[in-house]
Symmetry: C2
Subunit: 455 residues, 2 copies
Amino acid sequence: MSLEGADRPALVVVGTGHHAPTPDALEVLDDVAIVVDHDGTITGVHPRTSDDARTAIERAAEVVRLAPGQRVLPGLVDLHVHAPQWPQLGTGLDLPLERWLFEYTFPLEARYADVAFAESVYSHLVPTLVSHGTTTSVYYSSVHERATELLAEQCLLAGQRAFVGRVAMDHPEGTPDWYRDATATDGVDASARSIEAVRRLAASEGSTLVQPIVTPRFIPACTDDLLRGLGELAVATGVRVQTHCSESDWEHGYVLDRCGVSDTEALAGFGLVRPHAVLAHGDHLGDDDLDTIASIGAGVAHCPLSNAYFANAVFPVRRALARGVHVGLGTDIAGGAHPGLLSQCAMAVTASRMLDDGVDAREDAASRGVAGSRIDTVTAFHLATAGGGDALGLPVGRFEVGQQFDAIVVDVDAARDGLRRWDGIDDEPRLFEKIVRLASAADIVTVWVAGRRVR
Amino acid sequence: MSLEGADRPALVVVGTGHHAPTPDALEVLDDVAIVVDHDGTITGVHPRTSDDARTAIERAAEVVRLAPGQRVLPGLVDLHVHAPQWPQLGTGLDLPLERWLFEYTFPLEARYADVAFAESVYSHLVPTLVSHGTTTSVYYSSVHERATELLAEQCLLAGQRAFVGRVAMDHPEGTPDWYRDATATDGVDASARSIEAVRRLAASEGSTLVQPIVTPRFIPACTDDLLRGLGELAVATGVRVQTHCSESDWEHGYVLDRCGVSDTEALAGFGLVRPHAVLAHGDHLGDDDLDTIASIGAGVAHCPLSNAYFANAVFPVRRALARGVHVGLGTDIAGGAHPGLLSQCAMAVTASRMLDDGVDAREDAASRGVAGSRIDTVTAFHLATAGGGDALGLPVGRFEVGQQFDAIVVDVDAARDGLRRWDGIDDEPRLFEKIVRLASAADIVTVWVAGRRVR
């Protein structure tokens, strides 16, 4: 009996869906049954009228039948979120990066020593991102161990898949004395304790969804000793790494000056460019850097909206993909002033068009931009789903056997807003474009993580 | 008695508001009473505790007191909307402009010969734009006279201030034979009848909110005879003009080739650059063109999102303002794939930063962009409100005596989404930034046009 029970699908979702398993291919799953087991793993994607589908539907613990105006798509993987910056979302973007950090961001982040404040923010942030369809989030926390735990708790509570990283930063010039690790050793020790705490917390809930991540802020905020210590910590604990890399002219130049090599090479030297490490931004990566990242199996978090404010250039998605680099998308909350990844998909397409065409009409059209840079909504959505999953080495982002069922349902008939299906006009590829460019949180009516409904 | 009644304010709105009467100044109206008469005209903006405010509140027919988390702002003026393209919002943007028009847009626009179809679209479009806070809209309709009337009817029904223009287009090469005016004379005659019909319709409702507008599609779609005839029609009827001007490399070059002068000079020669004419896009305008437009008192509809797809460059807002050109914002639905103008404000800032910084990291930072191009949210919001009002010669966009009370109320405490006020963190200028970058239609809880509540 119990064996038979374990064999029963936990969930079958019946309806039409879209996914982008490769950067340039939209697959329409027309009238299918997606079969999910008790671990949240997809065990089959069958035509609805097939025998396999019928059997699964008959035996399943739960069957969800989508309405004609609903579409199921993979959940979104946000590779870059600064959780403590949530209250400043949408503000201060006229400041240059250094002033933004010292006058605006560090004072806010320092407040997370206050546990009640941290809880009030994180209990709003995490459910809001889930409501936007973000099923996986890679978070920077602050330097505070307790607030970092609280963030992990909120992810567990909301059922979101997450990497939660206590920020390490100790450089006497690159950080203020009122918001930093006192020494490199302190920074490594606190990070080690935070890894343990997040692991313990997830284990106590029986969850594998929430994991710690080693998080040096970026080279300008860290001494060599801290960077080296964190590289060793990543090896010792086996957890992933996230940091910023070659984001802006200033940051890229700073590392060249200080380390004598590119940001990527410097990070690699400290042991921080590892398989499934997430390097945020990367707008100023050279081809050698891209090759290094590809060969190690790290990835880039492309944050197209933030980049317009802090990166001084557009990240060349096409060039990175052509060199075999894993690329996913990030909001970069709060450098990127919008929650959710669908709006970042639209912005990634828009930014790629501006890189392709150039921006200054007084220049000759032929030399104005970088021809061949443009991407479309399919590529952008691939980055936001399977691309992010591949970067992290997680089995999410595709509706395929063996992948985890992290998914969203979008209602294209609600007609609340600009998103609306018009009979006789919209085919499935057009509907997919509309969803990516127009769906708001209100249009996302269901969210699953690992087969469990979380909204 | 009746004289006394006429003296009474129709409406007093009590609370805190923001507006941007000039391009670089945000004014916070802290705890004020905005007094509105029966014509929708603002007759006073007083501190709430003043005697003037007290008297007005006592005598007013209606008093609206904003909640502590509500802010009143001027309504948004969308200078460029292609109404019949609404069903294709968000789709087809990978096509170049010519293919987009012939394969995608013209076939859709041709369907508005079907009155029932036109009604189904326009009865969704207009209320949706109002729900986004668009209190004034400048519409392109299709070539169809009846559908144009239907659009005007929907504006009257929704209480939206609008200019509604039947599109004229007759060029045998620039338009398909199944969607064009048969001859220049036919185009002028149909446009004249449409002007009369819209005027008659508004008069029958006793409304001055909805007006016709002369609408040659753009030079490539019109013969010289049609353009000249429409210029004469504008003089004869005294109605405003809208058209596209120097949008893309292709269009700008086409006019140079055909007319031997710039798009602006050619349009001026046909009598179409007139006071308060709206020229859409203008990304490729030279300084001479800008000076011509400024001296005549026409304006530019800057459509920042659309431009990333169809204009091959970023419109130089700062340069245009410095030369005295009226600049407002437009969605360019459906070339711009998002409804509402707040998201266009954010995109205008983002695009200006990309023009300022440039896009290709492989170029030297010093020569990569056009320094001095960036605008902030205050300037963008000015364009979307007072800038649009000034371009049209309408008294809207500012909370000042003599202006019409077109306004929206945004709820910054709803915490539905990314927009949220945090106590002890957000002052009024920060709250304004958040509203512009983050407020969705759901956060816009009230809309007034000419003092009348329409949402």
